[in-house]
């Protein structure tokens, strides 16, 4: 029997599930219901150097640490508040609830604040989700569409008769956040 009956779709789905398995490839493998007879060795070649599980683990680690790095970069103040160990656990939980779906890694951390709103850590840090929302908004503001800002000369050029019908729009980079916490101070202190 050759391996030709393992079609590409099924192969990719199994490898994906093993890579994202939150408690590791070996435990993911134990829960995998669609493995071909012969197990992981039927999919990933074994050799005398590393086992198939060890090989998939290289990808699993790369996945987790790449997203962890993105979250650390996008949410430095949140990281400073909760500490590295808590942040590591937050990243693990976040990836279970909100696995990346967009092509650009820029979006990988976009739901982090929403994830934090229901997290038990909010007992200790009630402002955590708002802080993360502020950090994300700063990032999104930097990447918002460009537009010419209104200046005094443009305002002066408008005749008084036009003023009553005048409508102003916020610049696309303007984002409004409401919070009962002074998260802006936390951001600056972090």
């Amino acid at each position: 029997m050759t391996g030709d009956d393992i079609d590409l779709r099924r192969l990719q789905e199994i490898i994906y599930r093993l890579i994202v398995a939150p408690t590791g490839v070996a435990e993911g493998l134990a829960q995998e219901m669609t493995l071909p007879a012969g197990g992981l060795e039927r999919l990933v070649a074994s050799d005398d150097c590393m086992t198939p599980i060890e090989r998939v683990e290289i990808y699993a680690n790369a996945y987790f640490y790449r997203i962890l790095d993105v979250l650390k970069e996008d949410y430095p103040a949140t990281l400073a508040v909760v500490g590295a160990d808590n942040f590591h656990n937050l990243a693990t939980g976040y990836l279970i609830d909100c696995p990346p779906t967009e092509p650009s890694i820029y979006f990988a951390g976009r739901n982090f604040a929403a994830y934090l709103t229901t997290h038990p850590l909010r007992g200790r840090f009630p402002y955590l989700a708002d802080l993360a929302r502020l950090e994300r908004s700063t990032l999104e503001s930097f990447h918002a569409a460009d537009a010419k800002a209104l200046d005094a000369d443009a305002m002066r050029a408008i005749s008084p008769t036009e003023w009553p019908a005048l409508r102003m729009r916020a610049h696309p980079a303007t984002l409004l956040l409401e919070s009962t916490w002074r998260v802006d101070r936390v951001l600056r202190a972090a």
Partner: protein, 291 residues
């Protein structure tokens, strides 16, 4: 296709954020820059402003990481439109992405996963490359990725797989010399055999980068200088494939710009020396045959 379908760009480096200001201010003597497409597929802001300014003074090439050409999910039309819009804006000399899959079921692993080297995967991937080329109205370059596993049902070698996909899709190849070195160690093959098997006319660009040694395997981390063994392999590739536009990649622990510029200069020197020695050998052989 012929390599001469694409202009020869010379020696460049990847455009990375820590170097934006220095590049714009000092306009270093590099031939070209490569940008990660996804970093500029945003609505606005400083990255796009920077890339427009760099483009005003240098040729640019767009290098993507999220096309996921080998996935069994449908092609992402939104992504392709954004890619095309960026290409319209910055007019890259060419567009490249990787021979890999990056996710499935609408999920993204943000990693470049190796494909099984099978006839099924050749046809699947090449068919999709053709669709992307039709959509963009230009030929793509596909790059060989580093890998840490081999699928048990692979029937082709990696180099046979890469050449077969490029032939079937009629696309160019971005040959990453460091990835060949890494994979040769990880999967125990002779890196020179890989280079010997490349279709000469399809190889339009080289990548050079550093990797990390994890003992039982090498990891393609782009956070180290180019290793001596990879420089040797680069020279071997030059002897076999001739002059090819070369780009230095550095994505983590990014050093000051001068280090990248010096690496590009070293590639330029090595190419000149290697090709001159090649010519000397050829003329010596030619002289012998005539005497």
């Amino acid at each position: 296709m012929k390599r001469s379908d694409f202009p020869r760009l010379g020696f460049g480096v990847g455009l990375r954020r820590p170097h934006y200001a220095e590049i714009l201010e000092s306009r270093p003597p590099l031939d070209w820059f490569e940008v990660i497409s996804e970093n500029f597929m945003v609505a606005g802001g400083r990255p796009l402003e920077v890339v427009d300014s760099v483009r005003a003074h240098y040729p640019l090439v767009m290098h993507g990481v999220s096309l996921s050409i080998g996935t069994t999910d449908p092609l992402n039309r939104t992504y392709l439109r954004d890619l095309r819009d960026l290409a319209t804006r910055i007019e890259p000399v060419w567009i490249s992405d990787h021979l890999c899959w990056t996710g499935v079921g609408g999920r993204n692993l943000h990693d470049l996963l190796t494909l099984p080297h099978t006839e099924e995967a050749v046809l699947h991937t090449a068919g999709r490359i053709r669709q992307v080329q039709d959509f963009l109205g230009r030929r793509l370059l596909i790059e060989n990725v580093s890998s840490y596993m081999t699928y048990a049902h692979s029937r082709l070698t990696e180099w046979e797989f890469l050449a077969a996909v490029a032939d079937e899709a009629d696309c160019g190849i971005l040959l990453d010399i460091n990835n060949i070195f890494v994979n040769a160690f990880n999967h125990r093959f002779d890196a020179r055999r890989y280079i010997d098997a490349m279709p000469v006319e399809r190889v339009v660009q080289f990548h050079l980068a550093g990797h990390a040694d994890h003992g039982t395997y090498l990891l393609d981390t782009h956070d180290h200088p180019v290793r001596p063994e990879v420089w040797e392999l680069y020279e071997y590739a030059l002897r076999r494939l001739g002059a090819v536009s070369t780009l230095i990649e550095w994505d983590d622990h990014i050093p000051e710009f001068a280090v990248l510029a010096a690496t590009a200069a070293e590639a330029r020197d090595r190419e000149a020396r290697t090709l001159a020695a090649n010519r000397d050998t050829a003329s010596a052989l030619g002289g012998t045959s005539h005497s």
